[in-house]
Assembly symmetry: C2
Homo-oligomer: 219 residues x 2
């Protein structure tokens, strides 16, 4: 056999959908077929659908609570060019910059050089201390907490102490210590429009998905 | 009343645990109390505990499957200084660099300038196309797929085509189209040690948590 005719090892392409837009469309159709979104307005449902998409769980809606006209407040803030303030790098990196309507800044101060010293000084986690660096940027901003319960608790403490009010708070920290409690405290607070996921579930992907839903009407 | 005596608005500190180490300890104790880890070795259980910590769900173990001596293969690769190859920026940013034992590189090529053109050329998503840029860095690496089913399917196609074998694959993409199928395909494949979460659940936080568990024995 001529060497040039030696068969190259063939790799059969696998059978799966490779078109990103088709994957999104089929995913969202599945979610809307399986999830009970009856408790939400159409605008809220769009946010919840993206949150479900980020976690793969169609039973999420039972734990999602909106308050204070959250969607319109958050949309208006983004359209007005207000920043998105995030508690973790994962939230910040889950936000699709090209969807944001006004070149909005996405800010995470967790890795700022001042944060560790600040944490020691105030006797709290770095996630909480990082919020002390937000300052005036909190005014009218969209806050997205997807990781640390201590960040959400400390946000409420900053508001108690007279910090500028954000336009809307995505309060979706995850976990076993303080997550459920911090989210319940946000929902009970009433000063700022909010979305929460009651209980232990939550996370950076869900928080970023909520921002991405608010950022653009494009699915 | 003297003006200097006007009461300053007081903000009462809220009641929550502010000590990061105490929060971790209590979280892990709660997880070990509530989750059924009986199916795992002690080393596997450490990985699963961190995955549960990242998602807040103690029923996760029922869907977690390990294969091929995953933990020791992945640990050895990290100790040998092999890179961690990630399918998404969120996974890459969820990995705690200071836990990595050998200054390991953490690589995500999703936002490389070549990726969009490559996606068009191969007719796949950007998440999948990004893997074509990993090249020789795949040899002996730890691969962490936490987002895109297409990335996990394409990884298997690259192996089919003779790409260098990674040491271990964290296959935890999330969602409604291809997630369950791509993870089942990885588990059935057998060429590379793996961990998966069967079904739709998964995500970048879980994938990063698995890397963080493997990176250091410190809890």
């Amino acid at each position: 056999m001529d060497e040039r005719e030696t068969p190259v090892p063939m790799s059969k392409p696998r059978d799966y959908i490779r078109d990103g837009a088709a994957i999104y469309a089929e995913s969202f159709a599945t979610i809307r077929r399986e999830a009970d979104l009856a408790a939400f307005t159409a605008e809220e449902a769009r946010v919840v659908v993206r949150m479900i998409h980020a976690c793969g769980m169609v039973d999420l809606p039972g734990d999602v609570r909106f308050g204070g006209g959250f969607v319109s407040a958050a949309r208006a803030a983004l359209l007005a060019g207000r920043p998105v303030l995030c508690d973790s790098e994962m939230v910040a990196h889950g936000i699709t910059r090209t969807r944001l309507p006004a070149g909005n800044m996405v800010i995470c101060t967790l890795r700022s050089p001042e944060t560790p010293g600040l944490a020691t000084r105030i006797g709290n986690t770095r996630s909480a201390a990082a919020l002390d660096l937000w300052g005036e940027r909190m005014a009218g901003a969209v806050v997205a907490i997807g990781n640390a319960p201590t960040a959400l608790f400390h946000l409420l403490e900053l508001l108690d102490a007279g910090a500028p009010l954000p336009a809307a708070i995505i309060g979706i920290p995850v976990g076993f210590v303080g997550a459920a409690e911090s989210k319940a405290a946000l929902a009970a607070d009433g000063r700022v429009p909010f979305v929460i996921v009651q209980g232990r579930r939550g996370g950076s992907a869900m928080a970023a998905a909520a921002v991405n839903a608010l950022a653009s009407e494009a699915e």
